[in-house]
Amino acid sequence: MGYEHILVNVDTPVATITLNRPRVLNALSPELMREVNEALRTLESDETVRAAVLTGGPKVFAAGADIADMAERTAAEQLQRDQVGRWAGVSAFTKPLIAAVNGYALGGGCELALMCDMIIAGDNARFGQPEVNLGIIPGAGGTQRWPRTAGKFAAMETMLTGAQISARRAYELGLVNHVVPAEMSITVAQRIARQLSEKPPLALRFAKEAVLKAFETPMSEGLAAERRSFYFLFSTEDQKEGMRAFIEKRKGVFKGR
């Protein structure tokens, strides 16, 4: 399938989506995000793909939304276009999605990274939500995902001042999993994705769902859902294989059944 604003590379079982508008620092235009969503939908139903990496390439992740495109729009237009609503496909992806972030991840770019399941940051990465400086606020989950990850005060500082933070600071805040040399971030993310690809897909899927549920539900409900999934997984072939392999001291081979 041909995409104009992104590159999709499938090296089975790992897919890599690269935002590819380097001339505008990968500004997240509605068209680009439509393509990201479409690509993820395709990868979701491709059984040979077990995990995906989302990156902006070696220099920049994404320096925000397309300001030029938004500058003169009215509230009604924005509502009708529901630019941000179209990002839902990213959080609907049920397989592991790992962001490899180099350079700027600002505004929508930062929010896009925060929608992923893990973040591998290059040592040159910069995170921030500068929306306030433009008279708006983050619109793709920034105000909700930051406090749930980094806590209220770091989130407030980011939202209210619009200041950027370094990869190191993001690591200290628990916003990113690892800081690696920028030229290695995509490789490291792909390597983790490959490791995950060897794990039982259904267990990964339920684990991901359960963790995400922690942000959505009261503890008791989350625990109940976790328990249901835990019991359910005993109905899968992969659970039988996993435990048998453990007892036989060999590596399990999983089929996603």
């Binding site: 690696v180 040399p181 290695m184 490291v188």
Partner: protein, 263 residues
């Protein structure tokens, strides 16, 4: 000529080496507002220029730099306000000092004389220091009721140890070149008449080294200084992977095996 801009910082580029020189010998290279602007430009330009492989920071005349230009404060019509003092540190000195420490090329201080106050901060922010025997490092803040600044509270304890740093901060006494050399704060001491030659030799040698590997060494050290042992080794391992896939490594190994000079 009245329109001619006062060159308080001079830059000469020769053979891959940018010589950035404090150029107010009549004021012992005191750093004023114009010096800061020119120095900031010089450091930025040197960092960005592909042709520059190594940066040397030095002074003209007898001093490396005597520190902040105190006379300028009164010429401007009064002292800086406390907030201005803080702003100059945060907005002007910090970016320059950070850039020296983190730019992906070696930065050498050729200490042609004393480095005092913020002048010492610049010398200590460099990667390597070569000094004349008459040089010294002094943090005289205490004498005028100020606290250490320009990054020396972080740098000096790491370079000289906490005890030496505290003694300097508490007494305002200078750390002489010989003592600094013994402590490893200064890498080499050479007579004044040979300083530039020695630094030129060192800079030229570094300019011929694989540049990406030089940058990697700086990134590794800077990352390590903020990390645990484990984090540092992990970062190193990835840096090494990147380097092991580089043309520099392939050429380095081939040259080594063929017993020839690197290209």
């Amino acid at each position: 000529m009245a329109t001619e801009v006062d060159q308080q910082v001079k830059v000469e580029n020769e053979a891959g080496v940018a010589w950035i020189r404090f150029n107010r010998p009549e004021k012992m290279n005191a750093i004023g507002s114009l010096t800061r602007t020119q120095l900031s430009d010089a450091i930025k330009t040197a960092e960005r220029a592909d042709s520059v492989r190594v940066v040397v920071l030095t002074g003209s005349g007898r001093a490396f730099s005597s520190g902040a230009d105190v006379t300028e404060m009164s010429n401007d019509g009064g002292m800086h306000t406390p907030e201005e003092v803080g702003d100059i540190l945060r907005n002007e000195y910090m970016p320059m000092l950070m850039r020296l420490r983190t730019m992906s090329k070696p930065v050498i201080a050729a200490m042609n004389g004393p480095a005092v106050g913020i002048g010492a901060s610049f010398a200590l922010a460099c990667d390597i220091r070569v000094a004349v025997p008459e040089a010294y490092i002094m943090e005289a803040f205490i004498n005028i009721g100020l606290a250490p600044d320009g990054g020396v509270s972080w740098l000096l304890p790491r370079l000289a140890g906490t005890g030496v740093a505290y003694e300097m901060f508490f007494t305002g006494k200078a750390l002489q070149a010989a003592d600094a050399h013994r402590l490893g704060v200064i890498n080499r001491i050479v007579p004044a008449e040979r300083l530039e030659e020695e630094v030129r030799d060192l800079a030229t040698q570094l300019a011929a080294q694989p540049r990406q590997a030089l940058g990697a060494a700086k990134r590794a050290v800077n990352h390590a200084l903020d990390s645990t042992y484990e984090e540092a080794m992990q970062f190193e391992s990835y840096l090494q992977e990147a380097q092991a896939g580089s043309q520099e490594f392939i050429e380095g190994v081939q040259a080594f095996l063929a017993r020839r000079a690197k290209k």
